[in-house]
Symmetry: C2
Subunit: 429 residues, 2 copies
């Protein structure tokens, strides 16, 4: 690729560093979970911006005043662009009326109707607050509906932080939390069928992301016919089919990722993109599960807050009008095609996997420690382009061609830096 | 009590009824959980307002245009009054900057510092979204810290909807969910000590509300010395002491309900009132648990959203400036003293239990079905005063003396109505 550009400025992050030190005195790990500096992305804290001052569209300005092009989108919620004016206006109008009140707003019903007319498989919608709320609820509904205990998960799964979705050996997890789980490998429906035979009449549900978008590994799409086979096995053995669309929802198809891959799930879990960052998650379900769903005791203090519902309605309507999901995928394809070419120009073999709206990056000719890719990511971040090392990325609608061009320039400069840093490394072979 | 008033108008709720019918087509149970019309309060759907148009201060206006004095406060979150101008202004200012972004706002640290300087036991603060998120996390931290499995709960407990907090026999719950739980009766520390002896080295945590504020029964305060004894037993047997202050937090003492009752918990769970309805929950902890807390994998999509943090800071500062917790308790005392007197004037024996800021009502001379109290509550609601039958209530700072006076008039009229309806009932004896 023919890139002509001025060298980029290395950002100063001293205010972020100082604030992080303050945080360590009053917050466990300073910043915890997937937003923390060490989670998944292997970020060297000392050179990263950690705190936002403000955000707009595709950008975050950190507290040191640096503009950052953000390819993590809040780990998913930023779909139309930060502070989308239409979404924010709808939310502000509802805020003036009321949010978290004893009588719920009738906008709740309007949002349920909007969700059911958007998501192909949805006969009904149930609102909660976290992705985790709805994946856990889906598991409980599968048990309530079938009267069975066991759940089948696919290796590399992530369905939130409830104890039943974690692993034995993880801190705070006991055997009883996970003893009813069974596991298969991704794209191996025959393993699922074997379990259904072995545990006939004991398996309540099959839960999976629509494609394998795990960390620290190339992401894998479903093989042709995979989901059809899973659907068939679920029907044959009376197993509830649950799609965890928390991360991929609205990133592949606005009608649901199950629809995109040609099937109808029984339950689908949404969160993140559905309200452009306003705090709401949604479980959508098939009519046959309605009674079982109503029977399970499940509620939360803020689950029927009205403001996120107004934001959700505005998000879905605007996304449909703009074809935001398709447009984001096109932007992702354009960006990553360019990145691969730039990598190649510099002697690197960059692999791009997953759906284009939430691409995953890996350097094929890295050292075993993966340090070259991590260093490249770090050099990009230090120049104002926020990637992470071993987690998928996200595209938002506000990302412009100019942003992509800028990203390419930064990527090129970063590859040149790491190439000099590792003169003996395998990539030069 | 000498009350002179005009008969109150019976509110029309036909728009609520029509909207509820629409909801039944797209939402499980129409309105689910504790906000649903049948939960706890035994509300006859046909005569109740169900949907809010807007809210302000101590009032909700339903979609039929009726003004309702709200004694449920969104089941807890309304603390300073709906749409408090100072809280809303702080939240709106943060909203313009950014909310749910890849880099978190430095306001996160400011909120943690504010929480730690407010809550007596808090060395650190961890933010999540539901009360349930933090009660479940507290359980996991207790297990991580002690390397033990068992949890002790007090009968009548409610700690959210996670499977481990529910009961075997409830829909969707399996034996493995609850098999590590042990139970004691409220105000019986000797039962706790007996369990500690019986299961020496196996009990990870003791979790309890600061006083027993369950549904369908008189609420019970801790007996003198109760919490001191529990603290002593926890220390003796190495058990983590967890206060579930989700409902009672900021309703008894702004420094924490454990502080009010004279002890220091190891972990305290907050939600609801802490940000006047903005969606955030907080786990506060003792320094000794910091490493164990950091080790547990626990995160959520919206947990570090900045807008509720701005609201939380504004809520705590304003509440301290106004002495809101104490003032709300005074309002609750005044209101319920009057209600008892009015009940007595009409031949009823109304029992008021729990802390005055979140009082519980029961009619001592009711029929065994409790129908007289339920009918009285219904007659109050139909006249624009929202009580529930068998759940504690909440007071907010915006509630005025005029509102209390109006409530008394409605209560009196409602007692007269039900007295005529049950001429043979026990209360006339």
């Amino acid at each position: 690729m023919n890139l002509v550009y001025e060298p980029k400025k290395i950002i100063d992050v001293s205010k972020s560093q100082a604030t992080f030190k303050r945080a360590l005195n009053c917050i466990p790990a300073g910043i915890y979970g997937h937003l923390g500096p060490s989670e998944g992305c292997m970020v060297p804290v000392s050179s990263y911006p950690l705190y936002m001052d403000h955000a707009q569209g595709a950008y975050i300005w950190d507290i040191d005043g640096n503009r950052i092009i953000d390819y993590m989108c809040g780990y998913g919620p930023n779909y139309l662009g930060y502070n989308d004016p239409d979404v924010d206006a709808a939310a502000a109008a509802q805020r003036k009326k009321g949010d978290c009140t004893t009588l719920i707003s009738d906008i709740t019903v309007e949002f349920a109707e909007e969700v059911c007319s958007t998501i192909n498989m949805a006969d009904w919608a149930f609102f909660a607050k976290n992705g985790n709320d709805v994946t856990q609820f889906a598991m409980m509904i599968a048990r309530a509906y079938t009267g069975r205990k066991k759940m089948v998960l696919t290796k590399g799964w992530y369905h939130g932080v409830s104890p039943w979705t974690q692993k034995l050996g993880y801190s705070g997890i006991v055997e009883e939390d996970v003893c009813n789980n069974l596991y298969i490998e991704w794209n191996h429906p025959e393993q699922f069928e074997a379990l259904c035979k072995q545990y006939d009449g004991q398996i309540a549900g099959f839960i999976s992301q629509p494609y394998q978008h795990g960390n620290f590994c190339d992401n894998e799409l479903p093989a042709p016919g995979y989901w059809q086979k899973i659907r068939e096995i679920c029907d044959k053995y009376g197993v509830v089919l649950i799609i965890d669309d928390v991360r991929a929802g609205f990133r592949i198809d606005i009608k649901g990722s199950d629809y995109h891959y040609g099937i109808k799930s029984d339950l689908s879990c949404f969160c993140k993109a559905i309200a452009n960052g306003y705090n709401v998650s949604v479980l959508c379900g098939n009519k046959k599960l309605l009674n079982a769903t109503s029977d399970v005791a499940y509620t939360g203090s803020y689950w029927l807050s009205a403001v996120p519902f107004a934001a959700g309605i505005a998000t879905l309507r605007k996304a449909k009008a703009l074809n935001a999901t398709e447009e984001n995928a096109k932007k992702g394809k354009k960006l990553t095609d360019g990145l691969k070419e730039i990598a190649k120009d510099n002697g690197f073999d960059l692999r791009v996997t997953g759906e284009p709206g939430m691409f995953y990056l890996r350097l094929a000719n890295d050292l075993p420690s993966r340090v070259i890719h991590q260093d490249w990511v770090c050099e990009c971040v230090k120049r104002g382009v926020f990637f992470t090392s071993h987690h998928n990325h996200f595209i938002n609608y506000a990302l412009s061609d100019e942003d992509i061009q800028y990203t390419w320039e930064v990527a090129d400069e970063a590859y040149k830096v790491v190439r000099e840093r590792y003169p003996q490394a395998e990539f030069i072979k």
